[in-house]
Symmetry: C2
Subunit: 212 residues, 2 copies
């Protein structure tokens, strides 16, 4: 495993013992997260937009809109920071100071490319649907040329990326361990509720398995 | 309800019919979210860091570290964009193009202040713990002067903020409604699993209710 930061900029400075730079860790966190936050600089100001991402090999892809600020920012050749965060647990300690969270996060830096070749774009759109709902792509009404044109997909190589993780129980000072309050971990996870069909589903069509 | 954007910059441009600018909506989303993503400009590059936030009145507060890049960026008087996103459901349509998500998000722009008065900082730390675990603050070992000093809390007035929301079923073209595939909404929500006590909990101490 490569545990060296790919650049000084991508190096985790705060709590570096929680950092990871190996592909396996970075890929796993990107694959487990369903929402990403993409930071751009627009008119000299930071703008952080939530959107959806997926990974193929050593690139991360995300979904924009041909009418969005993201395209404007990207058309200007701007850099982005794409961040994916998974909150795994609240970590309750005996002091407010030692309260924490167990989490997994990845920051990816770079200048994104627009996926503009229709075939490549179609493959990326398929990758997004199939990642969440395997087998669904082939059952959908195929996209039209106009729909492909109206979809903005951006991508970034994972050349400048870092992960940060915390796991485990709270870390209280030894002197505080006898303090009379509960301390430990409250694990969290996302669940899917019962699917709600829309008004037009034709008989015999079942909802897909949930991607969780 | 004030449905005017507070500034041209905070105005939602993409799908403006999903925008909201009233305090009630913005407060409710900030209060429901547990993780925020804060975008800074560092060395001319966007950096998006996940952290924890809470709200008091018409300000949002978040937690940093006195050793972090966030402080450096803030010390330079830099602007931030603090974004909170809740993913409520996957929205499955009959075409890949009409797939979407139900979500609630808020973007807050501005130049943060460091909460530096010890009393104000203590009140903010209490606000954070009490928001998630009501009644817990008074049961904790009180913070030391050194712990208060080592905690970085930033805050931003909600003067330039916007919300964006999507709810409801997929919106397919009428011509696609008979396409033979399931379409509808897969609701998602975060749940807490069984609490895991650490090795030192003294007898009789029970875990707090989970903040979900």
């Amino acid at each position: 495993m490569d545990q060296q930061p790919p650049s000084n900029f991508a190096r985790v400075r705060r709590k570096p013992q929680r950092a990871a730079y190996d592909r396996t860790t970075i890929h796993a966190i990107l694959d487990a997260g369903m929402v990403c936050h993409v930071g751009h600089i627009i008119d000299g100001r930071p703008v952080v937009i939530p959107t959806f991402h997926w990974r193929h090999g050593d690139r991360v892809y995300w979904h924009g809109s041909a009418a969005s600020r993201m395209l404007e920012a990207n058309a200007a050749g701007g850099e982005v920071c794409l961040t994916v965060t998974l909150l795994d647990a609240w970590v309750l300690a005996r002091t407010s100071f030692n309260h924490s969270a167990n989490y997994r996060s990845v920051l990816c830096f770079g200048r994104p490319s627009v996926v503009d070749h229709p075939d490549e774009k179609l493959a990326a759109m398929k990758g997004f649907v199939e990642r969440l709902f395997p087998g669904r792509w082939d059952r959908l009404r195929p996209p039209t040329v106009q729909e492909i044109k109206a979809t903005l997909i951006l991508s970034l190589p994972l050349t400048e990326a870092s992960a940060k993780l915390r796991t485990g129980p709270p870390i209280d000072d030894e002197a505080d361990r006898a303090w009379p309050v509960w301390a430990g971990v409250l694990p969290l996870h996302l669940v899917a509720d019962k699917p709600v069909a829309d008004a037009y589903v034709v008989p015999g069509q079942e909802p897909p398995a949930t991607p969780l």
